[in-house]
């Protein structure tokens, strides 16, 4: 929000923006899929200002 990117999907940690090592391999892959799907949903949504899209 502070840096002004228009479409933002929050992730779980700076060292692993597309993962979550606390999950097992299968759950982590599923989390990553939901994350990318959330990013795709964000890309398809009109925004006027920095907007956060939470992972479903």
């Amino acid at each position: 929000m502070r840096v002004g990117a228009p479409r933002i999907v929050p992730t779980r940690g700076i060292p692993y923006p597309a993962g979550d090592p606390s999950l097992g391999p299968a759950d982590e892959a599923a989390w990553r899929l939901r994350l990318v799907q959330a990013a795709m949903a964000a890309l398809g949504t009109p925004v006027k200002q920095p907007t956060v899209f939470e992972v479903a």
């Binding site: 502070r2 002004g4 228009p6 597309a18 993962g19 090592p21 994350l35 398809g44 949504t45």
Partner: protein, 342 residues
Amino acid sequence: MSRVVHYINQFFAGVGGEDSADTPPTSRDEPVGPGRRLAQLIGPEHEVVATVFCGDDHASGDPAVIAEIIELIGAHQPDLVVAGPAFTSGRYGLACARVVAAAAAAGIPAVAAMHPDNPGLDEAGSAPVVASGEVARRMGPSLDTLAAAVRRLLAGEELTSDDGRVGAVPRRSRVADDNAANRAVDLVLGRLGGDTNSTEVPLPRFDRVTPAAPVDDLGAVKLALVTESALVPDDNPDHLESARATKWLRYGLENRDTLVPGEWRSVHGGFSTVWANEDPHRLLPLDVARRLEGDGAIGSLYPAYLVTAGNGTSVGNARRFGIEWAADLRHSEVRAAILTAT
């Protein structure tokens, strides 16, 4: 008579629009496009001896092109280089800013004109930039401002905000009388005493990023993965810096469905890379992107990813990478990108 060389883009040179954004640097021995009006405005004692132009993608995509442009400009032995007006056009503004910065570095006085919100503005470094309007419709008054600035510079004077000068005034390190801790206590006491303004650092002005229009047909478009997580091939063949990056890189993803641990490594110096090196998908979600491509949810995946290291990177460089990435991806017909940020 003073010799002025004018830099413009392919559009204002009359060569073409986006279809001609790849036009290489070209020189003409006369004023072209807005240069004709500029030549009138700067008066008979100064002459626009040449115009150098270049396509927006070409000029903003590869810093080496700027050297070619400067060589063409230098051949006309100018007393002053003028670039723009670039209005709010990012690639054009970036090119103008770099041209004046490079000219200044080569010892040739230079000035550019662009809107204060042009993302290229900061690339001008310490070379002066004067304000233009937001869009080409404001060409007339923008050229008036620019011509006045040109006359002042050729008279050996400095530009100030009265001349429409915009952009950051360089901040330089200085040695203060007291150490920073004591100055902090002084500032606290001042604030406790009712002073509400004092600070050593002005609040920065951040970019207002105009959001891109939504992509409603992702199943039909090309999508790119980009990242500032410093994920590179294990031997870091291009020596990406772990901090204060000065460059970005492109690595192919052709015929790859996954990123094999051990073949890739993050050289980012700002976070623990243990997790990323265990599984590079934690930085670049290629595995699921391929799956979504296979399912038809993504039309196609751009066959490479763009990467830099976002760690202590100056905002100026980061902005440049962003403009270059946008130009590069647009040129490759990519219509959407997912940036994984650390």
